[in-house]
Symmetry: C2
Subunit: 370 residues, 2 copies
């Protein structure tokens, strides 16, 4: 056997094993023969990529076109996760994704839009963009729609803009978190969110205050809400305030904020979850490895990415899709940062406001709370 | 005072506070007046972005051009971190970054290169691309250089390609880790890396086996190296093998692998760092929050991003920069996943190979180890 032939055989065997198909199928795909299912073809191409073989020129995908994908930044791990999910789906559909990310003082959403238009993109997906900011003008989106460019919004809803929107359901998220904490006996639950000009913050606050008002209609629910930034530092500030005012549990607007709340608790000599329970929002692979592993609300990023791309593809193809916002249910992933309410208020100093002493036993859920 | 005027004054005050400058300076920047330092102008623009104000049209940066940035994927947090660092620097220099990320079976590096060329990019930065794979052809890079397109490599070195390269120094990284573990009394140290066809894996293995050979010249150093994948699962497999063969400490090729090694240790009823010490590689903000907080080798992503962009800008401007690979020193960040060697071998079953019992006391470093 010649050395080249042996090399080819090894390669076919490796690829077949990696792709979970026969060497004959690998061979068919590599030679561009017909009669191979799209899924199978993709598995073989993926095996080539994973094993580090170059894709033969004739197997390169001919791009259907470019699609822009604008995300705010990559520091919060939910944005790379959403970007990866959307890009993978775009590639699957034959489109070449162009990812545009921002940093304060750097290239802005408007500058990216201009560049993408200049380069003839077929559509743009906006993730948590200016559309999610209730104080921002929607003019830029009207202009894009006026040109007939298909656009899709992810997480954030700009009323009146003619575009499909895909979001995680913030009302469901907060309800799941509050229900979980109440079932653990927590009576003083706080909410820590980012700037309240953002749609997801507003929605979380609205649901949270409604749930609190149902239980204690005479109380000002707003005192249990602190709005800072979506970062660890933002969470630390918000968490500190909520803990100091006698809260035994904090629901957060992001996982980074939740890590900040845990830090605030520990800097006060309190333990999580024994003294303070913390619920995050987003979830991403590393969050399962935090100390303690974070109880959080998982955004279904893969399903959302697929839905956003499907809507965009339909619009690019000339099929108008519904303008009713697609709301995806988050899942409550219970890990180690939530536990029974402490027997006594957690705050090191007794809070000024009157507090009910939490019970270590789960209390029955208040009527009317979903 | 009219309501509009009051609004403008509030806005100026907020911006001045956020940017740490006077309202007069904010006003000068917003009105495009001259005599403002570039740094100050940037601080005001960043304040606009952070506070969610739209950047006035006349203050939009005129793009110097497009630069492509190709990264392998976004699941490993070091890639979003490097991408963010490089993009921020490109924006600072007036270039519009185009981020291209991959997933197995999706758009490939070659397809992205084609697209970027079609759209007239001024240069391309490759992060851990095919250039880092010793089995891949360098033909694609020669072709780009043949067209006169400036390119820069980050983390990985393709010998013979006419391009600047910026990498983390893997030899320094492994030396720092081994020295740290030896000073804690570990005698059986293993190395868990990704596929050994990648330059960074090869370099880590070469340094590691050299360090081991210095101490025990008669032993086959390769038995202490396991090469799997850069993922958590890859780390779990490699860690399991190394622990089962009596290693009390594992140096990893990525933080994700390190988390996998910790998982492997725990699934065997062992504690980290009491029974097994683990050192990661990469570092990113979330890694400080893992359980235990991970001791790791930090890649200086911001400095590397700046160096890569500086080299590219010089080449775009027609100034040839040195082809000597720029090696950046990683820092050993000691957190909670490394500790003194256990008094007895950690493996649940006694290993077949003869092992020296580790001492809880730090042992003097072997002569000749840097």
């Amino acid at each position: 056997m010649s050395s080249t032939l042996r090399h080819v055989r090894t390669r076919l065997k490796d690829l077949a094993e990696q792709a979970g198909v026969s060497t004959a199928t690998v061979s068919r795909v590599l030679n561009g023969k017909p009669g191979v299912a799209a899924e199978t073809r993709k598995a073989v191409l993926a095996a080539l990529d994973v094993l580090g073989y170059d894709r033969p020129e004739k197997l390169r995908n001919r791009s259907q076109g470019l699609v822009g994908l604008i995300v705010p930044e990559l520091d919060n791990p939910v944005f790379p996760a959403l970007a990866q999910a959307i890009e993978t789906t775009l590639s699957d559909r034959g489109y070449t994704p162009l990812l545009c990310t921002q940093s304060p003082g750097g290239t802005t959403e408007d500058e990216y839009i201009e560049m993408l238009i200049e380069h003839g993109v077929d559509g743009i997906v906006f993730v948590s963009g200016r559309h999610a900011d209730t104080t921002a003008s929607t003019e830029r989106y009207h202009r894009l729609r006026g040109r007939g460019l298909p656009i899709v919004f992810v997480n954030g809803y700009a009323a009146g803009v003619d575009a499909p929107a895909v979001s995680t359901d913030d009302a469901v998220a907060v309800t799941l978190a509050v229900r979980h904490l109440r079932s653990l006996g927590h009576e003083r639950i706080g909410l820590a969110v980012g700037p309240d000009r953002y749609v997801p913050s507003r929605r979380k606050i609205a649901t949270f205050t409604a749930l609190l008002a149902e239980q204690r209609p005479d109380e000002d629910a707003e005192q249990h809400v602190v709005s800072t930034l979506f970062t660890v530092e933002g969470g630390q500030v918000a968490g500190g305030e909520l803990i100091d005012s006698g809260h035994t549990a904090v629901v957060c607007g992001s996982d980074l904020m939740a890590l900040g709340v845990i830090r605030a608790a520990r800097s006060r000599g309190l333990r999580v979850p024994e003294d303070v329970s913390v619920v995050g929002f987003d979830d991403s692979p590393l969050i399962a490895f935090t100390d303690p592993p974070l109880t959080t609300l998982r955004q279904p990023v893969v399903a959302m990415g697929k839905a956003a791309v499907s809507a965009l593809m339909a619009e690019i193809g000339g099929t108008r899709v519904s303008r009713t916002e697609l709301l995806f249910h988050p899942e409550l992933i219970v890990r180690g940062s939530t536990g029974p309410a402490p027997a006594a208020p957690a705050a090191p100093a007794a809070p000024a406001a009157p507090t009910t002493t939490g019970s270590a036993e789960p209390t029955p859920r208040a009527a009317g709370v979903p």
